[in-house]
Every structure is written in C-alpha cells, then in structure tokens.
Symmetry: C3
Subunit: 277 residues, 3 copies
C-alpha cells in the first residue's frame, strides 16, 4: 500500500499516480491533496493525525515550498512504515507517531527512525518534483520494502536533516498558552495545548483569550452539549484542545487562525476595583 498526500489541488496528483502505476504500484490510497498550500507545519500535524491509522506502508508526502531549491529529498523509515518527500521537516512528527506505535510505550521512538537522503542527480523537471523525484523514489521503496531501504542506490543515511517539531504549549494547572495549529473544514480551531489540560474540567467555564479579546465558554465532552452555533472548548480526536462551535465555525466564533496565540484559563477573574467599606 502506498498513500499519497500533497497540497497540489487538482489535477497534478494524477500525474504522480500515473508515475506510480507505471512503476507497478497498484495499491494507492489518497490521504488528501488539499493540505494547506506551502505549509509543512500543517502537513506535519495532519499526517501525524491520520497516518498512524494505516497499516504498514509507504507514504508519499509532497508539500514543498522549496521546490527547485537544493533542499534534499528524504526517505524516513519509521518502524515498518516509510515516508518519502522533501526535506522540510514535516515527515518527522508523523514518523515519530508511527515509530511510537511500533516500539511501544517503554522504548524511545527515535530508535525506530532512520532518515535517508535520496539522491536524484538529474530530475526530469525543476518544478514538479512530486512527479519527477518523490513519486519515483517512493515507488522504489515500495518495491524493495521498508527493510531494504539501506540497499537502494542513491539512498544514504543522513544525520543532518530538517525536523519540524510541533511547538509545545506552556501549561500550568489552571492556565495554558499556546497557538492554533490548524483549522479544519468544519472551522474547528485545533491548538497545541494537550488534551490533558482539560482532564476533569468538563462542565467548568474556561476563558479563551486571543488577540480579539476574551470569551468565556463551557468545557464540554462533545459538541452537542451546547446549543446549536454556541462556542465551546473540548478535546479533539487528535488529543489536542480545540476551540469549536456546535454546527458552526469555531475559527469565526473565536476570531482565530492558524499560527495565532491563544491562552486558556480557569482562573477566576479578580475584580480590578475593590469597593471600599
């Protein structure tokens, strides 16, 4: 099985599928081709979310704002999976998630990760490496098998490669400061605050502070716990805190977008003016 993900829109992904089919890869699964354009961070988030659902396979991931520069092509082995794409760091977060499943909770995921630089001295074009560099490389990995990457010509173990780390939020017991990672098609604004922050707080009111101001909303188990269109804070299916609206758009309700700062707080506001006796 080989999955495809890109920010190519349409119909460019079909050219990659054609290359893969021509090289004998018949079992193709589209992950998404409308990942946010030129945004390796968003790709890292989404692939970390969806790829661990898949059985072992090769994952072709092309979000490549640096196409035509001398950024390398990389292949990342993660347990019994392999990821192939440009060297911009977005393969590492999903690779760590895949490796963590492979080694189990008592081992270091890094032990199951190897990164290879992929040399392609003379690509057919300088503008469409998805078709001309990454798809052919992924087809070779698919044919050889994840355990045989080492033996592939042009694949060389690399120590120096980009590694995008999903930024950590700053979390205390009653307050967390982070940022919006992505907004999904429903308008749910996913932050980098870990879901643990809300543990045991369902039913409480939380203050959501953004550049647009402060909104106090309920912490809920599920969307349907508030009225239609009402804002809420919950833990999403990816394990992070989301700012959402029931059957509405959270990004609009909270006026936030990817990259924007957000502070979540359970602290009671102390009145600024204290009445004199």
């Amino acid at each position: 099985m080989l999955t495809l993900a890109s920010d190519f829109g349409s119909p460019y992904p079909a050219a990659m599928k054609g290359v893969l089919r021509s090289r004998g890869v018949t079992d193709l699964v589209d992950v998404a081709h409308d990942l946010p354009q030129g945004d390796p961070r968003a790709a890292a988030f989404w692939l970390r979310f969806v790829l661990p659902e898949f059985p072992p396979g090769v994952h072709l991931v092309v979000v490549d704002p640096g196409v035509g520069t001398d950024r390398a092509a990389v292949c990342v082995r993660a347990g019994d999976h392999a990821l192939v794409g440009p060297d911009n760091g977005c393969l590492l977060p999903p690779a760590r998630a895949l490796a963590a499943e492979h080694v189990g909770p008592d081992a270091d995921p890094a032990d199951a990760i190897d990164v290879y630089a992929v040399d392609d001295p003379d690509p057919r074009s300088s503008t469409f490496h998805g078709r001309d560099v990454f798809a052919p490389a992924a087809a070779r990995v698919h044919e050889a098998g994840v355990d045989a990457i080492e033996s592939l010509e042009g694949f060389v173990r690399a120590d120096d490669y980009d590694d995008y780390a999903i930024p950590d939020a700053w979390v205390e017991s009653d307050t967390a400061s982070g940022e919006v990672l992505v907004v999904d098609d429903f308008g749910n604004a996913v932050t980098n605050v870990p879901g643990d922050f809300l543990e045991g707080r369902v039913g409480e009111t939380i203050a959501v502070e953004t550049a647009a101001g402060v909104r106090e909303v309920p912490v809920v188990e599920t969307f349907a716990d508030v009225d239609k269109h009402d804002p809420l804070v919950t833990v999403g299916s990816h394990g992070f805190v989301e700012c959402d609206a029931n059957q509405g758009r959270g990004d609009e309700a909270f006026d936030i977008a990817p990259g924007r700062a957000v502070t979540l707080s359970f602290e009671e506001e102390v009145s600024a003016t204290v009445p004199t006796a």
Copy 2:
C-alpha cells in the same frame, strides 16, 4: 467492496480509510466526502441516487450532526447491501432504493430491509465516531458478510430508529408544489416533484413560482434545447424535476436554495383585470 461517504471534507476521511485498511478492508471506493455539512436530508437524497449503481457491498455513511449525543449507531441491511452510520434516518431512503432493486417490482422493499442497533460501549473518542465507531463497525460487517450481520456481537435488531422520508410534493395534473431538495455543483436545483409531472409536456411553457417571484420557462428534454445561460425545467437523471440553466446556474437563475418552496404550473394565467365591453 466498501464505499465511503461523509461530510468530513479533508483530511478526516483518510483516518477512516486507515482504520478500514488496518482491519483488512482493501477494496475502498470514495463516494463523496463533501456532502452538505450536517445535512442528513441531502445525504439521503444523494445516496439514494448513487448507491443503487453499485454492486452489493457495504456502505459507510457518516453525516452526523449529533456526534457525541446518545444517538445510536445503526446498520441497515438492504437486500445484499449493508449501510452503516449514525441513526439519523438518512440511511433509509438509499436502503429502500437498494431493496427495491433486490425484490423487484412486485414485492415490498421493506421485506428486504432489517435495521440493527450497533452497540459500542466505549468508543476511543466522543468527537470522531466516523473513525472510532462507524468505520470499525463497517469493517466487521464487510468481513462477516451481509448475511451474517445477525451473528455479530453488539448488533441487535431494532424496531425503533430514525427514518427520514424524502418529502412528497403535492401534485395535480397541471400544478405541483414542492421544495428544493439539493443544489448540485453545476447549480442545478433538484426539487421533490416527480419527473412524471412533466410527461408529455416537453416544449410547453411552465411557470416556476418561488419566494423571488414567477419565471416562465420552457420544459425541455435536455439543456441544449435552450440558448446558453437560459433557464429551463427538465427531468434530471435522478427522476425528479430540476430548475436549471444551460451551462449556467439554475439556483441563481431562479433564486432558490435547498429547503425553499417551489410551485410549478402549466395553468394559463387569468388576466386580473377583464376589459369591460
């Protein structure tokens, strides 16, 4: 074969595909993942339209405004097909269409339909049942086969379930009153008035009355029977009357949207003022 339909946009459907692949279902067909969001009515219409084209299989359908509520998960057997999704009624119209094909014109489709409540006592999340409840249930039905649903643990015959019925239009010989069910990507506004209403009337002029006013347009066999961009009324490929425009958008030409009322009439307008002799 297992088909997938949802209102998830992207990339959430990939998580469902991963779950299905991990459980051994390799033959996946995407029906659509951009069904109108949170609109089981539109899902019912579209799936009733497209699923009967498919050979026997399992159909995973997730349009779920009630995710996280205690609405049940259901599996509907319809002849040699099965549909799996939330209990909001949208599976029944396509199930009846599939059952009707199965039993033929002389029998009652209801005889070929069984509904099962699917129990999942402890889903992995409360926000992404497509991945955590419905995809696993569909994989189990796919593996066991449609005839073995009865034997699956957690699948219990149900008599009390939601059943959305596509609303009937009110039809007389020269007048029909109904509503717009969906607007497709071309802007064609599909009503619930059965195509029979236009039988033998091609070439006549019909009055289309909406909240925006009355437009008189030709009844045609096909779009090309009017000039480019001109409005028309015809019978669509789903068997219902459509308000369209040739190479243009019918919804804009008639100023209508899903859920809006529409009256179609062949009656000659009687002049409001009668000239005195």
Copy 3:
C-alpha cells in the same frame, strides 16, 4: 486499469464508479473531477499532461457541454490506450501524446490513432451520459481490451469527428505571442508558448504584455529563484511557458485568465522620445 476524469464535481462521479463496478471494472483511478466546467479545451490540456504518465489503460473523460444534443460518443484508440467520451475534440490532444510515446520519435502518432463512433440508441437518460452512455462504453472497452475495439457492437470507425488542437503560439527568436491555456490551483498561468522559447535565457528579463499592461520579470529555472510573492516566468512541468509568482498567484500578479492573450518579449524597448543634442 480505468481512469476517470470529469467536470462533475461531487457526487456525480460516484454514479459512474458504481456503473463501472457493476460491470466488473474493479481497478479505478480518479484523475480529476473538478476540471473546468464545460471547457473541453482545458480538459484537453490537462489530460495531455497527465495521461501519458499512466501505463496502458482505458480513460473515461466526460466534459460535455453538449450533453443531450446529437453529438456522438467516441472511443479513441491511441497506441495501447483507449479514451472514451463525448465527441467534442478534447480526447485527441491526449491521444496524440499517448500515440507519440507508442510509436517513438521516428513515426507519425496519427498512425497509432483510430477513432470510433459509439452508438447507444436508447440511453437511460438524456442528461447524464457520463453514467448512461460513456461509463458503459468504457466498461465494454476495458473488458474486451484495446485491441478488440473493432469487434465491439456499436463501435464503428469514424472519419468525421471533432478534433481540438491546442492553439499554436506565434514565436520568433525574441518575441512570442500566445494565450493562457489554463490557470492551475496554485494560480500558475500556463500559456501555449513552447518552453523552447526560453532556452538559454534563464537570468534575463522578459516583458510580459497583457491587456492589463506590461510587466518586466525575470526568467528563472525555478520559483525559488525570486523572493516570496515575486512574479516570474519559467517553463512548467508540461513544457510550456508559465507566468507565475513564488508562493503566490501568477494569474493575479499578471492579471490574466484562461483564453487571454499574452505576448512575451526579450526586445529592449526603444525609447519613444530621443533626446536632441
């Protein structure tokens, strides 16, 4: 393998997939279903670009502004590929590209092309020939094999069929006049000026003249050779000259759209007013 391409949006393509699956075609590959609506020219361009990447197969292509008219259905054999769709000319440019690969550089692609009219005397509908005429015809070709088209009932060799030719640009050594063929999802404006025109000119400044005025921009090897959002001219992966912007939209930077004229010139502008001594 059978590929599908259309301008149907969603979920109409699923009806075609159902028809194909019901007729035993299991290996389906989506090329694109959001080709520009009712625009056989754009379809011709994109399919000429992507189909040659695929191994031999049957390609169902439905962009059909003339649905319901008496335009024929055609099947075009091109080497060991076959294309099936409405007779509006858009199958011939990709067919020529496929045939050229088949016969090699020393022979005439036309020798590897045969066009068949496909007779379907009584289609199920007059509005959805993708489902009712073209998908069934493609399934028959897929089952019989490309070499057996001749023997299929209702397939008759045709001499009189539409043939859309991608328009030639007018090219001199320092100036080329052409038009924009398509704009892709990144905003890259692809012209019909062959890439050869820029050979050896990387690093020079080129004047791009459109109805909106003249912009002087660099000719580059790759997007990253200019600053973020800056405009540029380069050769795209399809071999034509593109007007682009690095991580921005070329169509907006140059204010151009499909069908608009564009003149590219390396000639130094002669000052209109010559200073007197």
